[in-house]
Symmetry: C2
Subunit: 312 residues, 2 copies
């Protein structure tokens, strides 16, 4: 197979685009496409301050790399979650993130959840009994809270995450199986800013996971190969497998599923248009972050419960 | 496992309902539930004339059996499609349907497509090049046309088909992967009657395929075991497998997927409400059936093309 741009031997074939590229042209193509998506979905401008949530994985490190190469003002945020899982997952991902920041001379914020709040994610999950024995829901809640906090405290306009198409399609798939209006009417590449909340964007949402893996490897980015040890058996992983099977039979299924959903939402032909200010939002009495709960936000309620149980 | 109703040994366990039943209670339960669905979705009354589309398979024969047991006025319609596939599929399904009608003293209409229109379904598909080498789209088009024709000519109020939950969930799954507004806003247990078109209903749409198999066997209905030889490799079969994998991990996934979709459509929280008379419908210049095409309906256009190609 030959590179579509130069005719040399191709390194990657993207069946859904009917396009093969050599390593050099692939390394050009990914940032070009990212720039196209940033503009298409009005994610941010070169004047805005961007905070990239970096986990040490291929997606978030590649995102940071791409944004900086494209000339955007992007700092990083690493959250230490205290996840071990026999592979010292959190320590290793922290080390790789620090190394990437240092090698590229970039600013990295680091928050250690245990130091900040007294408990690691697995402990918070265990003592609060949230999430049916999996820490994933506590982890998501904590990450959202901390990303918002750092963005607010340091004056970032935009929070960027490394979600790729496989992630987004799997979330959409799960929301569709449940026909959850709240989630379906909100999911997309951009979540607009609201009172006290930075805009959230997903610049990689149209790249397949394998494309991001190829990018990280071709670019020589050292990233943590292991999946989070808690991901195994998670519903999302299962949805990803389902979609991969469909994709194998019909290349492009995942991309079509996600893009047509976005089109259908925008056209107004299929979905109702929701008033985005419909939810009643006010600041949490403890942390000041916006919440629709009566007094304390979910994160602060979780911390209170942990404190009751552990006495810490 | 014990029968929920009588405590005897159960014959079938329905995980999505957390209920096991013995053979006798299962044979009662299926018609009771069918009656419940008929009423819930306002499918038809005991005064209306019902035409059941019968293929000789477990679903349609069971549907006919159930409707007659429930005291509805239901005649049958068998369409001879001329499908062989090495198992003499059409002949065998015709024989079983005739036997069922005779044994139960029921009225059966029979239409042989080749005798009526000069070509069998596989030939029509081949000469018209519709459906990418599969006769399924020609078969669907022809069945819809002929069911409507017989319903109109013999004055039936309602057309009932044996689609089960697996069928409906697979269709919904396919329409969802494409986010097809036209299909998603129309799919449901009842398609209202329109100018020149009988109401269409699917009384078995909430039963799993395995429940219908169990019903046919427990009732001693002789049906054609073979799938249509053209079904293999069809997209629908593939979607069914995908849903079955999800169902295995989370019993009830298929039912939830279908029922929440119906709820979401009805509540107006997620989907727009479509004006059902939006399409511009007029009678086909040749057959008189309603169509939105400029002059001839799709079926008559297909016949014209077949006639041009074959000279017949």
């Amino acid at each position: 197979m030959k590179c579509k741009k130069c005719g040399e031997r191709a390194s990657i074939n993207m069946r859904q685009h009917r396009m093969a590229l050599c390593k050099d042209h692939f390394l050009e193509w990914i940032p070009e496409q990212t720039e196209r998506f940033i503009k298409k979905y009005n994610m941010f401008t070169r004047d805005e301050k961007i905070l990239v949530a970096v986990s040490g994985g291929k997606d978030s490190l590649s995102l940071w790399d791409i944004l900086v190469r494209l000339g955007y003002k992007a700092d990083g945020l690493y959250l230490g979650l205290g996840i071990d899982g026999g592979v010292n997952y959190s320590n290793e991902s922290h080390r790789l993130t620090e190394e990437f920041a240092r090698a590229n001379n970039l600013t990295l914020h680091v928050v250690d959840v245990e130091k900040e709040y007294g408990h690691s994610i697995p402990v918070l999950s265990e003592v609060t009994h949230r999430g049916y024995g999996k820490p994933c829901s506590v982890c998501g809640l904590t990450k959202r809270h901390e990303m918002n906090r750092i963005a607010r405290d340091f004056g970032y306009d935009v929070l960027a995450t490394g979600h790729n198409l496989d992630d987004e399609a799997a979330v959409l798939f799960g929301n569709t199986l449940q026909w959850s209006a709240d989630y379906l009417l909100r999911q997309g590449p951009v979540l607009p800013s609201a009172e006290g909340l930075a805009r959230k964007v997903k610049p990689l949402c149209r790249f397949y996971e394998r494309e991001m893996t190829a990018y990280a490897i071709a670019r020589g980015i050292e990233y943590i190969y292991d999946e989070c040890p808690f991901a195994e058996g998670a519903t999302q992983v299962f949805y990803k497998e389902s979609l991969n099977q469909l994709e194998n039979v019909r290349p492009g299924t995942k991309l079509t599923f996600y893009l047509r959903f976005l089109d259908a939402r925008q056209s107004g032909e299929l979905f109702v248009q929701r008033d985005k200010d419909a939810a009643h939002i006010h600041p949490c009495a403890k942390c000041g972050q916006p919440t629709s709960a009566p007094e304390l936000c979910s994160f602060c309620r979780m911390l209170e419960k942990a404190s009751e149980v552990t006495g810490l």
